[in-house]
């Protein structure tokens, strides 16, 4: 985590002075404690999964694991809407020029 501090601080803000780096990955029962002074940040992974983090260490843990503030993927509902519009539009074009295309 220390090696990735620049990226972590870019996303999560400056490391609080009293914050220690803890090895969370090896502890499956680790529970993040909400920090009331920390503004919730929304992070995304490469698959478009979303998580809201509520403390600096939680944010640092996820950023270190590859999560970022950029949603790399187009939301599913936009893809769905775009596909339906293209299909319907395509249908109208095909119907109009059907005779010419299949001549």
């Amino acid at each position: 985590m220390e090696n990735n501090l620049v990226e972590i601080e870019r996303v999560c803000g400056l490391k609080p002075p009293d914050q220690e780096f803890v090895e969370i990955a090896s502890d499956p029962n680790f529970v993040f404690v909400n920090d009331l002074n920390f503004s919730t940040i929304r992070l995304y992974d490469i698959d478009g999964n979303v998580i809201n983090v509520n403390s600096w260490i939680e944010c640092a843990h996820y950023v270190n694991g590859g999560w970022s503030q950029n949603n790399f993927q187009t939301p599913g509902d936009i893809i769905f809407l775009a596909t339906t519009i293209v299909l319907t539009f395509g249908y109208f074009i095909l119907s109009k020029y059907k005779n010419r295309i299949f001549k």
């Binding site: 490469i46 698959d47 478009g48 993927q73 187009t74 939301p75 599913g76 509902d77 936009i78 893809i79 769905f80 809407l81 596909t83 339906t84 519009i85 299909l87 319907t88 249908y91 119907s95 299949f102």
Partner: protein, 675 residues
């Protein structure tokens, strides 16, 4: 025509290969051979490896794996591996099949199949205004059945807002479907009736949705019916009055039914909104189906219908075997044909119903196979010629399919109807009609008498109620075995009323049970007329339905109004979850679906006393059109005999077959005249 026969299969192939084949070859994440050590690899590279990439890598693998559809995955993960888990010795490979993606791809596949139906020479032109009704009606489902869609679709959102792209997308896509259906129907309208058998091959249930493509098509015809026949008939008025009853009488509850094998043709919730939705859909579909059959019946072609039955039935058999052998075949069968449940995983009947997947139950596919065999026999017997000679060899897989369906009722009723049809066509019957009819009645009566002699009348008459008593939650405070002993003691003493004197037992007994016990133990007795409960008990023993009907009696707890009008069409929630019963089955089977195992009882749940009207009308149609030359008379009797002991009426394709046969009975009186 030739062009469409080339273009459509090519388009279909693309539709199947592309979504499950596309992957990013720049990401350097490749499929690896499946093993215990590569499970972690697949779990950390989710949504990167396509199904076909995975399958080609594991084509020669000796590992036992199963491809599982993951409808809740994001649309970006469509067709990609979303995880691998090991269960016992088998690997469960999950593939992203986002529900909205399924809606688009499966619709395109089935509409392409639809376009393979040959066009007519006559082309109709229907008003474009009809199209608008389809999206308006069906979009309502996403609002009313939120609990269903919330758990099956990652992008589901039922908020009514202009930024809800999910709902807007669905609205547009329903319009697209309606447009394609309209165009397809305009040129194929008269030919559709001959392609009815294909509904047994293409089940048409959208993966992750409680919807079936046939409902959309039939609703289109329902709307079309109203645009052409604007008269309101008694049926419409009666249905409207009943609808008010079903809506007002509904006792909203948080019951939720995931649809199981009825998915696509059942109401998943017990709320007023979903009740209204399914009342409308059921009505329009029924009207649409009747309209379609009645208006195109003159174009019914026996040979074409038989050919299509043979092709559809044998493909079910052939593809069912493929699906049992190859995991990819199993998955593609499910996806391409829109099965309600996954097909059998191995080719043995003890692994489930042999044709599970293509048919929700062994009964329904057995009935279909029996129907085809009977139809061909009746055709040959009547016309003295073999129909569709080039396709008749397909009868072999049909007979095999019937045998593997383990549907004894269907096999025996085929034999019975064959015997009856030969009998009524015979010279002897013509000459000694009365003697033969009396002889048959005497034979049946003697059979009944013999059956009563095997066991005591006491046993036969009360066994059904005994089964119901065992499943009733009596003496709930005792442990299962001791309450069983208490119930058994009362049953041996034939002391059912004392059981009900106990206040807790009385409360735990279903209203059906209380009513039947009252009827069975009533003091007055009409000489020579058997008690109705005793008679049904005896029938249930003969047809091996005592346990299932006993469970039905224990479960079915309708209010007075529901006794009269039922719960409404496709509404099973209250029946399934309202009344607590005791089941003596292994723990893992406690949550199984316990359907009544009789279409009459299914109809009773839906329509209450009006079931007698429906059944009466069916019997009237058989009597009215009874003619030994009418093939549909025998087919109707065959279906009636079968659906009495099966739930087939709950499945859309079996319902269509029943309605088609009964309308054929009325309309296709003399097929000789039809070219």
């Amino acid at each position: 025509m030739i062009k469409s026969r080339v273009i459509i299969p090519f388009f279909l192939l693309l539709l199947i290969i592309l979504p499950f084949g596309i992957f990013d070859n720049k990401d350097e994440i490749n499929a690896v051979e499946l093993s215990d050590s590569t499970i972690g690899y697949y779990q950390s590279t989710t949504c990167k490896i396509s199904l076909l990439e995975f399958y080609s890598e594991n084509l020669e693998s000796d590992k036992n794996f199963y491809i599982n559809e993951n409808n809740y995955a994001d649309i970006n993960c469509f067709g990609k591996i979303t995880g691998v888990d090991k269960v016992d010795d088998s690997f469960m490979v999950s593939v992203g099949t986002n529900t909205s993606g399924n809606f688009i791809i499966q619709s395109l596949i089935w509409l392409s199949f639809f376009m393979l139906i040959p066009s007519d020479k006559k082309i109709y032109k229907f008003s474009s205004k009809l199209i608008i009704f389809i999206p308006l009606i069906f979009i309502f489902q996403f609002i009313t059945e939120s609990r269903f869609y919330n758990r099956t679709n990652f992008i589901y959102n039922n908020e009514l807002s202009f930024t809800n792209y999910y709902l807007i997308g669905n609205l547009i896509f329903y319009t697209f479907i309606a447009l394609v259906i309209k165009e397809g129907v305009e040129s194929r309208y008269n030919n559709l009736i001959n392609f009815v058998p294909f509904i047994f091959l293409i089940s048409g249930t959208f993966s992750g949705m409680n919807l079936n493509i046939y409902l959309i098509i039939l609703c289109f015809f329902g709307v079309l019916n109203f645009s052409i026949n604007q008269k309101i008939k008694i049926f419409d008025l009666l249905y409207f009055i009943l609808s008010i009853g079903w809506i007002l009488n509904l006792d909203q509850n948080d019951f939720f039914f995931d649809g199981d094998k009825l998915r696509g043709f059942t109401n998943s919730e017990l709320t007023r909104q979903s009740q209204v939705f399914w009342i409308i859909i059921f009505y329009l579909s029924l009207k649409g189906l009747i309209f379609l059959i009645n208006s195109s019946v003159q174009y019914f072609n026996f040979e074409l219908f038989i050919r299509n039955s043979l092709i559809a039935g044998s493909l079910v058999c052939f593809l069912g075997i493929i699906g049992a052998i190859y995991p990819l075949g199993n998955f593609l069968n499910f996806y391409i044909f829109g099965q309600n449940k996954r097909g059998m995983k191995e080719f043995s009947s003890i692994a489930g119903n042999t044709w599970r997947g293509f048919a929700p139950s062994a009964e329904s596919i057995g009935e279909f196979y029996g129907f085809i065999i009977l139809l061909i026999f009746l055709y040959i017997y009547k016309y003295r010629k073999i129909p569709v000679k080039n396709f008749i060899f397909l009868l072999v897989p049909i007979i095999y399919g019937l045998y593997r369906s383990n549907n004894f009722a269907s096999i025996s009723s085929v034999l019975l109807i064959v015997f009856l049809s030969i009998l009524v066509h015979s010279y002897l019957f013509e000459k000694y009609k009365k003697i033969i009819v009396i002889g048959l009645i005497l034979f049946i009566t003697a059979g009944f008498y013999y059956f009563t002699q095997i066991r005591t009348y006491e046993y036969l008459s009360t066994e059904l109620v005994y089964e119901a008593t065992l499943h009733q939650n009596f003496y709930p405070r005792s442990e299962a075995y001791s309450s069983y002993l208490q119930v058994e003691k009362k049953m041996i003493e034939r002391d059912l009323n004392t059981l009900l004197i106990d206040e807790e037992n009385r409360e735990n007994a279903s209203s059906t049970y209380r009513f039947l016990v009252n009827l069975l133990t009533v003091n007055f007795n009409i000489p020579l007329v058997p008690n109705i409960v005793a008679f049904i008990s005896m029938i249930s023993l003969i047809i091996n339905r005592t346990e299932m009907w006993g469970i039905f009696i224990a479960k079915f707890n309708p209010s007075f109004v529901e006794v009269i009008i039922g719960s409404g069409p496709l509404q099973l929630n209250k029946y399934l979850y309202n009344h607590k019963i005791r089941l003596d089955v292994p723990k893992e089977k406690l949550e199984s679906l316990y359907l009544p195992h009789s279409s009459l009882l299914d109809l009773y749940i839906y329509f209450g006393m009006f079931t007698f009207l429906i059944v009466g009308y069916g019997i009237y149609l058989i009597f009215k059109n009874f003619n030994q030359k009418n093939i549909f008379v025998f087919l109707s009797i065959f279906l009636v005999l079968n659906i009495i002991k099966s739930d087939s009426i709950l499945y859309i394709h079996s319902s269509v077959l029943v309605i088609f046969t009964f309308l054929g009975l009325e309309k296709i009186k003399d097929p000789d005249d039809i070219e």
